[in-house]
Symmetry: C2
Subunit: 303 residues, 2 copies
Amino acid sequence: MMRRASLALCCLVAGTAFAIGNSNRDKPPTTAKVLESATASDWRRPDPANTLYVELPGGRVIIELAPRFAPLHVANIRQLVAEKFFDGLGVMRVQDNFVAQWGDADKTRPTEAALRKIPDENAFAWSKALPFVKLPDADGYAPETGWIDGFPAGVERKPSGQAWMAHCYGVLGVGRDDWPDTGSGAELYVVIGQAPRQLDRNVVALGRVLRGMELLSSLPRGTGDGMGMYERPEQRVPISSIRLASDLPEAQRTAIEVLRTDTPLFARYVESRRNRQDAWYLMKAGHIDVCSVNIPVRDVPTR
Amino acid sequence: MMRRASLALCCLVAGTAFAIGNSNRDKPPTTAKVLESATASDWRRPDPANTLYVELPGGRVIIELAPRFAPLHVANIRQLVAEKFFDGLGVMRVQDNFVAQWGDADKTRPTEAALRKIPDENAFAWSKALPFVKLPDADGYAPETGWIDGFPAGVERKPSGQAWMAHCYGVLGVGRDDWPDTGSGAELYVVIGQAPRQLDRNVVALGRVLRGMELLSSLPRGTGDGMGMYERPEQRVPISSIRLASDLPEAQRTAIEVLRTDTPLFARYVESRRNRQDAWYLMKAGHIDVCSVNIPVRDVPTR
């Protein structure tokens, strides 16, 4: 919302200018400075076998699947992708400040995988052995929040002993009807608005968009049923294909890296978001919620 | 993200069906039931003198201004509108999960109002006399949150003695450069993503979109400067005019009402969002943050 200067990465120049006369040694680093100091090992390459490419008219949406959170549902989505279930279907629901959703809206493809009844994976068992990176800040929606395998997570050690994916911007979930249906993965949604944390543990969330969010978030909103359904089939946004990166030859893959969440650098990154050091900021928030920590993604650097 | 049934308003039928055999008397009401029970006095009509109509190619965005939060800036925006400053300008920045911003990108209109230096109104003085409706739930970004005049607000009674508008989805703010510039209102932004609460008290927020959010949130994202700038002037989304509703004849106004936030009904509405009663929900969040409470807007009912 700035006029010329702006947030984060783009404030580096202004931040440097402002620092004249101060001790740079004692000043906490800006986000840009933190990311500049990252080394190759602070980044990771998503497993191609867990990477979905959703091909839309506007381009490719890249989604990382999180098998630890919902192994049976991830396996079924892999099955659906293997049988090219989604090819030629479309996005049929875009509800403002909520979700974009795609799948077999007309139930024309009753394959075994699409109809599969899968046990509840809205949450999974907490264990101290989990690679949980805790965010120190309190969160009213969960006793603890942080990241597991690079995905935003809520944790309740007691009484439920559960962990789950937090419904943040860009999170992928499995559409379902009323309980006890858990959804097969034949309909999927991505969060395109304020984190709908009330969905946590109510529905299977099992991935996150790494690239191409704007291809979903900028779609026209639907007007049907008060829930953003496109009212006419021709309004649907066609999906030419959904594939696993591992099913494509190397040349057709998109080489990206994601900032690791289990490193000292990531802790510094979070701190730079909790208390912005850029010159533009007068007040530091002194707080951040898990869904406000955007995890950087970049092209694989050329050597 | 449901397959057929869905959230909130659209779950009423399913909710009713589920309740067979239960005692409806003891069951807390769903959001739909709460809103059904609203009477005319639970709704308010925004003051036309505080209502902006932003006319875009896709239609009208309706914004309510909040003069209590930033009286000098609201007055200057009224002045800019009176001189038709914005007519023929455009939206020049749309950054995914952040803001859509419009104004005089090329500085071609250096009017007195556009160049005016206005004192800081990033926050204003807290007073017990303020009509503050407190949300009981804790919020890490502010000691207290709730609503003032129907707008989401943060409050810090001590030590700062300040109140301010919380940067929620749909909030209107004033673009500025680095401090001590506070912005004149010649550039304005609307939040189109996860609530950027780190902006609270850093920038003047003074209104909220009541209708037409989807006309801003679905705009193509810009690719310039890492901050969503449209790189070519022809990409800008033209604004044919911005007017106050009070400057238009009655026939050209949009007759809408907003749910009041200072009523017992609103408290019940918030509770229905904190703990969803719709059949679709297995888990109740037991918590809500101020930016996750969408304040309903409706057409003025025909008698």
